[in-house]
Amino acid sequence: MLELLAALLVLHLSCIALLLAATINNAWWMTNKVSTDIWARWTLQADGGWNYTEIPNVSAKEYLQAVQASSVLACIFCILGLIVFVAQLYTLPKGRRFIFTAAFQLMACVCIMIAASIYTDIFHKDEADGWYGVSFVLAWISVCLTLVSSVIYCTMRKKTV
C-alpha cells in the first residue's frame, strides 16, 4: 500500500513545514503597523518600508525565550521524527508498530503546545487593537496535526510484501 506510505510522508512533511513557518516567521501578533514576535519586531515606517527592530524590553523576556526554545525544539523533534521514521521503515521487524517515531512526534506536539500556550497566556492579553497573526495560528494547527500524526504512527504496523 504505497499510497498509505505516501500519505503518511505528506502529513509528516506538512507538520514540519507548518512548524518551521510558525517558528521562523515573526508574525505571532500583528497590528496595522507592527508585526511582531518571537524573535524580533517588524515596524511599518511612514514611507512604506518595514523596519526590523528588537522587541522592546517587556517584563516577560524570560517567557519569550521559553517560547523560542520550545518552538525550536518542536521543529527539531519533528525533523528527527522523519529521519527516525525512514530508519524504522528499514529496520523494524515485521508486525511491529512505529513507536519510536510516534514518540518523537508526540514530543514535538508537547513542545509546540507549551510554546503556544505560554504565548497565549502571557503576551498581548490586554492589547485591544491587534490580532493574532499567521504564525500563531499555524502553531496551534501544528499541535493538532502532530498529535494526529503521532496517533497514526502508533497504530501503523510494519508489513513486508
Partner: protein, 212 residues
C-alpha cells in the same frame, strides 16, 4: 642546512622584535550593577622585557561627550589618581606593573559612569602601539542576555534525549551480551530455546517493497 635555518630564525626574530608594536588588551564591554565595584583590566604584550619605566594611563570619555579626560596615570613606579574629576576618591590601582597588569578598580558605579575607558600602556623602548578601550554599561538590574535561556533549554532537552537514547541502547546491548554469554556457557555452541526472546533485536529485513 640546520645552521642556515637557525640563523634565519634568529635574524627574523631580531627584525620582528624591532618592528612590532606593543599590543594592549582590555575587555570589550563591562556590565555592572549600580552601586557595585567594577574592575577594568588592562594588560599588554611586548617583545621587550618589562622595563622599570613602564607606564599605564587611563582616559575616560562619557557617553555623548566629544573628548576624553585623563583619570589615571602610572609612571616611575607610582600611581597617580585624578583628584578633581568625576572619579576622585573612587579610583584605586589594583594592577601589578611588573606583571604587565595595569588594572584599575572603580568603586560605587553610577549611571553617570557609562562611557568608554581607554587604556594606553608603554614599555620603553617599545612605545608604538594602539590604546585599547572598554565600554562600561551600568544597569539597575542585570538583563538576561538575548538567547541565553533559549540556548540553555534547547541544550538541556537535547542532551537529555541523547542520554536517554544512549542508555536505552546500552541496556539492550548489555542484556543481549549477558544473555548470549550465558547461553554460550550453558549449551556450548548452540543457544537453545529460552533465550530466543533476544531475536527481536536484530532482524535482517529485506529492503524490498516496504509497506504496511
Amino acid at each position: 642546512m640546520l645552521s642556515v635555518l637557525a640563523l634565519t630564525s634568529v635574524v627574523l626574530l631580531g627584525i620582528v622584535s624591532q618592528t612590532t608594536a606593543i599590543v594592549v588588551y582590555t575587555s570589550w564591554e563591562k556590565h555592572a550593577l549600580v552601586g557595585t565595584d567594577v574592575r577594568l583590566s588592562c594588560s599588554f604584550f611586548s617583545w621587550q622585557w618589562t622595563s622599570p619605566d613602564v607606564t599605564f594611563s587611563w582616559q575616560y570619555r562619557a557617553d555623548g561627550a566629544k573628548e576624553g579626560i585623563s583619570i589615571f596615570h602610572f609612571a616611575g613606579g607610582a600611581p597617580y589618581q585624578d583628584s578633581k574629576g568625576p572619579f576622585r576618591d573612587r579610583l584605586e590601582f589594583v594592577g601589578n606593573p611588573s606583571r604587565r597588569d595595569g588594572s584599575i578598580l572603580i568603586k560605587n558605579v553610577d549611571f553617570g559612569d557609562n562611557g568608554t575607558f581607554t587604556c594606553d600602556a608603554k614599555n620603553p623602548p617599545d612605545i608604538a602601539g594602539h590604546p585599547s578601550s572598554v565600554r562600561l554599561l551600568v544597569f539597575e538590574k542585570v538583563p538576561v542576555q538575548a538567547g541565553v535561556i533559549t540556548g540553555a533549554i534547547i541544550g538541556v532537552v537535547l542532551g537529555l534525549l541523547i542520554l536517554i537514547v544512549a542508555i536505552y541502547y546500552l541496556m539492550r546491548f548489555l542484556v543481549a551480551r549477558r544473555v548470549f554469554s550465558l547461553s554460550m556457557s550453558k549449551h556450548g555452541k548452540k543457544g537453545k530455546g529460552k533465550e530466543g526472546s533476544q531475536q527481536k533485536q536484530k532482524p535482517k529485513v529485506p529492503l524490498v517493497f516496504i509497506s504496511f
